[in-house]
Symmetry: D2
Subunit: 351 residues, 4 copies
């Protein structure tokens, strides 16, 4: 089988990462690359490999201006949208139709089920509650079964992936303490991301000489409702930028419910992820590092508890462009097309 793939938004970091993964994927063929709408001040070069020199001689396709008929004329089996969320809304509505390609959207346009959240967190009225409803949130560790038949997959955000994978199994198992008022206590999620997470736009704060360890979006980041929706517990999420290229490290604090020890936490996580090819639980005393997951689709997880206080510390690390974007999209595609889930993401098993 060869899956005919189109990437829209191939001029950004997630789009280019996706192109690299698809090139190496044994069952896909990239049949077309399209640009997001032209960004202010950035001239899109004619050839993809002019924009990203590492593809020189490996993929010399042009990057074309996006047009739905032009995309459909390529008869794609799958279309990846690495586009801003407004563009994704329009493109998904045009493309994700019966008989059309499977659409994998890397933006936030279809991640939240509740249309009411969009105006507040994303600044626009979502025009298609029906499509929102049919979209599947593409975190395989949570939604593998429904992904197998999805026509529109909302690939999770980078920060949410790092937080949800740590928290969801524990929230589901009742590990999180409740307050006197009956509400769950809120885990604290302090995350640091490399600069590629800010995208390839021309912002002063992404200049080499401006970047340094600093929080941003405090109490107001767009990923907060996404984390809360899928972690199974409301959280306090604070993102930071770090002076490096790629990778997210999240340090998460949880107030444990009575009866929860480090051993039980570890057992719960181990149980949840025993069969997962891309979640690695570190043994006690070993802590995830961005260095260990760079360029991979792994999420590394570790935990420790202060039993006297019932305090749990969880740490997770992912590559924001791989497990936090393009790699997760490929993992979803593999599931959707019935391929081995690690195809193109890990070496094939050898005879």
């Amino acid at each position: 089988m060869t899956i005919r793939a189109v990437v829209i938004g191939a001029g950004g970091y997630s789009g280019a990462e996706l192109v690299g993964l698809l090139l190496a994927h044994p069952a896909t063929s990239i049949v077309g690359l399209f640009a997001s709408a032209k960004r202010d001040g950035v001239n899109q070069p004619a050839l993809f490999s002019d924009s990203f020199g590492r593809f020189r001689g490996r993929l010399d396709l042009p990057v074309r201006a996006t047009s739905v008929p032009d995309v459909l004329a390529l008869k794609p089996d799958v279309v990846f949208l690495a586009t801003p969320h407004e563009a994704s809304v329009e493109l998904a509505r045009a493309l994700a139709a019966p008989g059309g390609p499977v659409v994998l959207d890397l933006s936030a346009a279809f991640r939240l089920k509740d249309p009411a959240l969009y105006p507040k967190h994303y600044g626009f009225e979502h025009p298609d509650a029906g499509l929102l409803d049919r979209a599947v949130y593409g975190l395989p560790e949570l939604h593998r079964a429904t992904l197998a038949t999805a026509m529109l997959i909302a690939v999770p955000g980078c920060y949410p992936t790092s937080a949800i994978l740590a928290l969801a199994p524990l929230a589901r198992a009742g590990a999180i303490a409740r307050r006197a008022d009956g509400r769950l206590t809120r885990p604290i999620v302090d995350s640091t991301s490399g600069v590629s997470g800010a995208g390839r736009g021309l912002n002063l704060r992404s200049l080499f000489c401006e970047v340094h360890q600093q929080p941003y979006g405090v109490l107001s980041h767009r990923h907060q409702p996404e984390i809360d929706a899928y972690a199974g517990v409301p959280t306090v999420f604070t993102p930071h930028l770090g002076p490096y290229e790629r990778g997210i490290l999240s340090t998460i604090h949880v107030e444990l419910a009575a009866g929860w020890s480090e051993a039980r936490v570890r057992e719960t996580l181990a149980g949840a992820y025993a069969e997962e090819p891309f979640v690695r639980l570190c043994r006690a005393g070993v802590w995830p590092s961005v260095a260990d997951v760079r360029g991979t689709n792994f999420c590394d997880l570790a935990c420790a508890t202060d039993d006297a206080w019932g305090h749990l510390i969880l740490v997770s690390a992912i590559d924001n462009l791989v497990k936090g974007a393009a790699g997760q999209a490929v993992q979803c595609m593999n599931i959707r097309f019935g391929l081995g889930e690690t195809t193109g993401l890990l070496p094939a098993e050898k005879a």
Copy 2:
């Protein structure tokens, strides 16, 4: 007045930072440099400027093997110990005598008042409870008055400085919520430090190609009891290493007591630091960055609250080698010798 200064431990990063500050200080004269005990595998060059090329032609003193009589023969007014804590214990006992020099110790040897904490957190029995008792913890913003007459000053650790300056005024003012059992809720302190904080020792984890965003010392870092002792509240402290040279950013979460709003927090911090030359409170919406404090003695502070939950986020940034070590030591020296507190740390006022 010229203060005759000696630096012991001039081969490390804090020691060298101190030398740079003392060179620029209008009222001090560096009369001698001494090495910590020779470290395995590191040959101490004969001249200080061979070890730190940036001092070439500016300070070509030799770095001598430490000997108490040799130090005293220089008739120093002040001796800085940028030495490991075991060495500091011995040197301070020998030097901090009546009629002797003022001793400023940058190690942890005299920071904790309770001798019982040393075996657990530092792995040695403290041999001199009396000297412990007489030592003054050198955080000017808390202990300015007692510093003025101290003979032995325990210069605070880098992480503690960043956490205590944020928390102490709030703890003192009763801003921190109590649990049902009456104990204070524990603020969460997630800190990231540049690599210079790990010192100049030859450790695999300090190699350029090994460093990346990663926690360490989780639930077991030596700075935990120091933070708790001076912040006025027990905390949960988790240090991380980041891939950069210098600077600490601490993100701190506090459960607020009833009646505490963002305005009141801000007013409390503003009141505490209105006259402080080295604490800068950011206005709402501006967050500290390591870039803004690098190479300075400033601590930048910011805050925001989620009033519905009574949740406060504090962020502080310092340069771990300056406000977190050498600059703070100079600030203490200025107080102790009756100089203007910012001498050598900020430009002099102009006519």
Copy 3:
């Protein structure tokens, strides 16, 4: 004496570096800050310290839109132009008049004496050959005497400073071999600069995730004619960008004339720079590093020869924003105003 200083172009990296140096300078008072023309896509914040957070609480002046009458109304003794060269041409013509302030221009607008070079290398016809002629090239090590009375000082470029300081004494002494046709052989200058050298403009190539070791401007860089004009020999200059913030390292290859050995080269450089406060000649076997000059006004120099081939290797290191821009401007100002040349650049001598 207090020198009233104005900085135009305070929103760029050189301008901000200059502000920092002037703040610390005991004899200057910053009386006004002005912006270059508004750059596309960059909103100039109202306060200088909003644009560069490290100045928070230290200099909270507004950055005003540039207007010559507004500048003159401040009665400045000195005006620094950290502006693009087209703007500098206009501003210098308006400001550098008899009875007016001393003008120090950090752009290339007045560095070349020959107006004919401007169209080719800078893309514009120079409108004021007379002013060009009166401008003094501000390399103190070469032109100290004429700087003392200059009304317009063209502060050298960063790459040229690193190359000229290495080559000029040797070219003057006849150390450079001639070709069979009588022309001097051309030294090869391979330089690597940190990213701040590219300025604060919003260019894709200055984004954190785009920068890496790479040449640019090969055989066509604008600094080539400037180097050739003042080094005393035509050169082959190739600039590179390196993934770091500040500093230039130049490695220079010279074919030596007959009779020139390493000893004679070293003696010539030592003679030229014996009394220079900001040029440090490394002893044999020690090589300059960007780490040693960061944040300083020093130029570190080293040399070695392959005597069998008459091949000389010179290496120089500077901080592109200090000795390559703002520090050199202050050094020139000190000379021009009869102050000690190191004032504000090195600690004052102590009693």
Copy 4:
């Protein structure tokens, strides 16, 4: 076919890179990992994945102390030596025997044909001139044919690979000018390498806070004779360290022989590399960047000439750990075992 592979020296950066490539290689099976002799101060963890966390869960083999019988007991088809050159000499002599495994040595132990060069450049008498003579220098672009039957392959050094690929076709074609005395003029090779090139040993100069742009080994680097031996022309080679993890950029200056223009240079390089899968010639105006070759086995090449002076500038970029070490070793292995040359280094062709 499955090739049974052993890696000796799996605790270093080249060794670990090799392990990663072999894991992903469809035709190899890693049957054993061995350590170089224990390095001072570095405790070799028991498991390879403890030493390099990125292999956690992917390859949890132990790293054993090296013993020739233990290696041979594994019946390897190929043994990679990522060991210091002294160790490689001994291991190659023991292993590279008729009927034994193919040995690929990544050290310098067998790169030079002339035993007389070893004492001077490597500090030891080479004990086995016969084996030196039988070893094949593993640069496929030069020696593909002889590699096909080699029993001992000396994988080229990183700097030499970057220099030789640029120079060899031109030297062979007579592009390099001669001096009046008939000797070839010497090309100048100025190279900058990332820190991984210095290896994983505990050296002060490899610490994160010590690394910066700086030359080293000036006129005395061990790679000089290797470059000269295979480039076809003597050179002047000056290595530099840059503050980044991996990649080498070499800027090379050549005095062209009469009759050589940019077009002819480009044609010569294009001709030499038209069929080479891992050499990419950039079109005019595009210059190699370390960013474009990181993590790949490519060598990017570019050129420009100053025709008035007959001056050629060549620039090449490689990843020092891939095309400069482990990737090149795998490329050689592929040739030696009759596999497609890009196997495991580029995605397989798709149907």
